[in-house]
């Protein structure tokens, strides 16, 4: 079971002090939060992708590569990477590059995003958002698994003899999670490919997303990747922890009520009781998180937001500290003891390398000399079978 934090990269005014951090301060703060998460033994740090203020994270792989260079064990991920408006070819390239630099200590979560104008800004039609997400992933999946791809779809220009470089580290693609809170087709795609499914378990009544998680589990089994309870499920959440319950509520309240997201809707108490928002002592947060396991079944990844609503860096770091020292160690033990036999952990690069190669050495692709193109052979790599003749497209 992995526990970690994720951030949407919002730069919000601190409603208590009135201070709004600069982009420079907030970017630096995110790196510090990730480093602290690594130090206290959290398993995952994930960052969102946005293309408008008040967010900074338009370029997640750059940030994550920087964090990878400064951390030891934490897995770096996204929450989410836009599979709709990014070119899947560029996703394949960027994240394979990150995978190399992070020595495999990464994965990614794909999603459709929730900012309408991003589609037209990137030349896409929001009415085709779901088709874009599905088709783009189909291509991304192949780009990481086939040295040379011929492909034609509805949205991007066709590819003939295209090789996405660099090839994934050890020729093992990054693990992919599909993030969705509405769409059964996304759950189906995650199940079909045996990928992970992540339900951002926030801003909705408790267990609202259970039908989608259940659908994914059933279909995961249907496609033969394992039993339904072995499917790879992740959940989001938000938390604010203090030594005791009253302090947690008292200290979090001004941020909650001052937040444009929360402050105009239900009262904090209603949110705490009616939704997965976890505010309280370490013990309360532990107990609430255990209800997720009871309600959604054994799952593999729990991420919390801790740096939202204008909370200053020091508060966010304290949250990371409390998660790492007081909450997660207990949850690890408790969830492990409740977990059904045979339920796997979330895949990591190491487990995926072992799964593909066993004890053998992983493939290390070495390109042939530059021919100015990569369509004049079966593969641009030295280790491909020379007896296989390329099926070249006819020209003219």
């Amino acid at each position: 079971m992995q526990f970690g934090i994720f951030s949407v990269s919002d730069i919000s005014k601190n409603p208590v002090t009135g201070y709004t951090p600069s982009e420079a301060e907030r970017i630096d703060a995110s790196v510090q939060i990730a480093k602290r998460a690594d130090e206290v033994g959290l398993d995952v740090f994930a960052i969102g992708e946005h293309h408008n203020p008040p967010f900074f994270s338009s370029s997640p792989t750059t940030l994550l590569a920087n964090i990878a260079a400064q951390t030891e064990q934490i897995v770096l991920s996204t929450a989410i990477t836009l599979i709709t408006t990014n070119d899947p070819v560029k996703i394949a390239e960027d994240y394979a590059m990150l995978q190399h630099l992070a020595k495999g200590r990464m994965d990614l979560m794909l999603g459709r995003g929730n900012t309408v104008p991003v589609y037209p800004w990137f030349g896409q039609d929001i009415h085709k958002g779901l088709e874009l997400a599905l088709e783009n992933y189909n291509l991304l999946h192949r780009l990481w698994r086939e040295d040379v791809v011929d492909w034609e779809g509805s949205f991007r220009t066709a590819l003939q003899g295209f090789t996405s470089v660099p090839r994934p580290l050890d020729d093992v693609p990054p693990f992919v999670w599909h993030g969705a809170i509405r769409t059964p087709e996304i759950a189906e795609q995650a199940a079909y490919y045996g990928n992970g499914y992540f339900a951002n378990n926030i801003l909705a009544p408790n267990f609202h997303f259970r039908p989608l998680v259940e659908l994914y589990r059933r279909r995961y089994e249907h496609y033969g990747h394992g039993t339904a309870d072995q499917a790879i499920v992740g959940l989001g959440g938000q938390t604010f922890i203090a030594k005791n319950s009253q302090d947690a509520v008292r200290r979090f309240r001004p941020y909650f009520e001052g937040s444009p997201l929360y402050g105009t809707s239900y009262r904090l108490e209603d949110f705490m009781h009616g939704t997965p928002l976890s505010v309280g002592s370490p013990q309360e947060v532990i107990e609430k998180t255990l209800t997720f396991q009871a309600g959604f079944g054994d799952y593999q990844r729990q991420l919390w937001v801790v740096d939202h609503a204008g909370l200053p860096l020091e508060e966010a770091l304290e949250q990371v500290e409390l998660l790492g020292t007081e909450v997660v160690p207990v949850l690890r033990k408790e969830m492990e003891s409740r977990r059904a036999p045979g339920v796997p952990d979330a895949p990591t690069h190491a487990t995926r390398v072992r799964e593909k190669y066993g004890d053998a050495e992983p493939r290390q692709p070495r390109p042939n000399p530059n021919r100015g193109d990569n369509v004049t052979g079966t593969s641009p790599y030295q280790d491909t079978d020379p007896s296989i003749v390329a099926d070249l497209p006819l020209v003219g």
Binding site: L134, E185, E188, Q189, L203, H208, F209, R218, S265, Y266
Partner: protein, 217 residues
Amino acid sequence: MKRLVVVSAGTGNPSSTRQLADRIAQKSLDRLEGATVSVIELGPLAVDTARAAVAGFPGAELQAAIDKLAAADAVIVATPIYKAGISGLLKTFVDVLDNDLLVAKPVLLAATGGSPRHALVIDDQLRPLLAFMRAFTLPTSIYAAPEDWGSSELGARIERAATELAVLVGAGVEAQVTDTAWSGYQHQFGGNARRAERTAADVDFDSPLMRLATGGA
């Protein structure tokens, strides 16, 4: 057993909007043997409804009202006319419903106003709103200005509308339409509608999008 549900946006006590809805409900019950009626008063749900509109999800009491509406075989919607329009509370309530909650349900439209000059608000505002919800709005709607309460014509219109309602409910139009055409409407997985898809068994995995999800073009 058929279930009628009244949605009343009247806020007074007593409320003439509620009074109108009750008369319509009673006349409809007279024509539907064994039917029951229950009422959703929007006034007590006002704060919950506004919060749901902002938060994007309903609280427990509002959820109970939505569940009641989803299970209805026919709905009587009654609103006061404010500022030449329907009650904002009613519009906000409809705003937070799933798009498919009322598909093919018979819905009787009613309103009360301070002047007969607002009689067309029902057809200008309420009927398009329920058309968006893909409901079967009855051809006869009922508008009651103060003077109508002294006119037997109001009673005659109520009788006519109640007859239309009873015929549509008796014919089972909602079931007939949704039995065959449900997949043609816009839906939300795990939603509140009576026929919402909730498990893998409900899902059509042979749709073009599902085929695209599984690698096919």
